[in-house]
Symmetry: C2
Amino acid sequence: MEGEMLKGHLDMIVLAALSAGPAHGYAVIEEIKRRSAGAFELPEGTIYPALHRLEHAGLLASRWVTTDSGRRRRVYALTRRGQRALAEQRAIWEQFSDAVGGLLKGSRPWKNPA
Amino acid sequence: MEGEMLKGHLDMIVLAALSAGPAHGYAVIEEIKRRSAGAFELPEGTIYPALHRLEHAGLLASRWVTTDSGRRRRVYALTRRGQRALAEQRAIWEQFSDAVGGLLKGSRPWKNPA
DNA sequence: CTTTATGCATAGCAACGCTAGGTAATCTCA
DNA sequence: TGAGATTACCTAGCGTTGCTATGCATAAAG
């Protein structure tokens, strides 16, 4: 699928992916892919700028971590503000989703034979 | 609400608004507003270009109509291709919506990367 | 050793809804 | 009758934002 459909929803998606616990960028990409059952395979050029933006906005905090094997990773975690933002955006998503649902309802081609 | 959230969903929304029957641009705006319970108040600068685009793509057909009171209106109707496109986009919306749902819902035992 | 996967970063592009501006006829109501 | 609101259409250009393309570097797999 994909188009420009997730414009305006990306922040929420990234925040949601981090809601289970801290993760580094690459892991965020995989978590999004996993939780969306493969529907969202977001490129690095989408995620890294998003993470930077969200950190700059105070919704995420990051620290550098070095693994046992010597890999450097930047691990992000939701801040309290980030958690609040996620809750807000989730509520907005519900409204948006309901509104679209309302539009699609009544346009059903295979009308439900009550 | 509003942001850039409906990027990539506008065509479906317009097609859905016309699925009940032909309508002119201004009426499409009101139909969208009505069916979305006021959530979507789309400006003319959004709708008219969208209608032109959809007609150019062969998903809509238009004709000029003059009302009894002498008003000129451009009335749009779904073509067969438009109906098919709506069905497709509805299916894609379901996928998109489910994927976002999975993201907002799914939390799983956290596997520490570091 | 060569390939694949991991991991981070960013300049510039492209898509697309929206702002802001214009034109014009009809309706409402004092 | 006149003013303002509403209806009704159109479009150039803007701004946001996700994505492409590219670069760098290390670790695991073959």
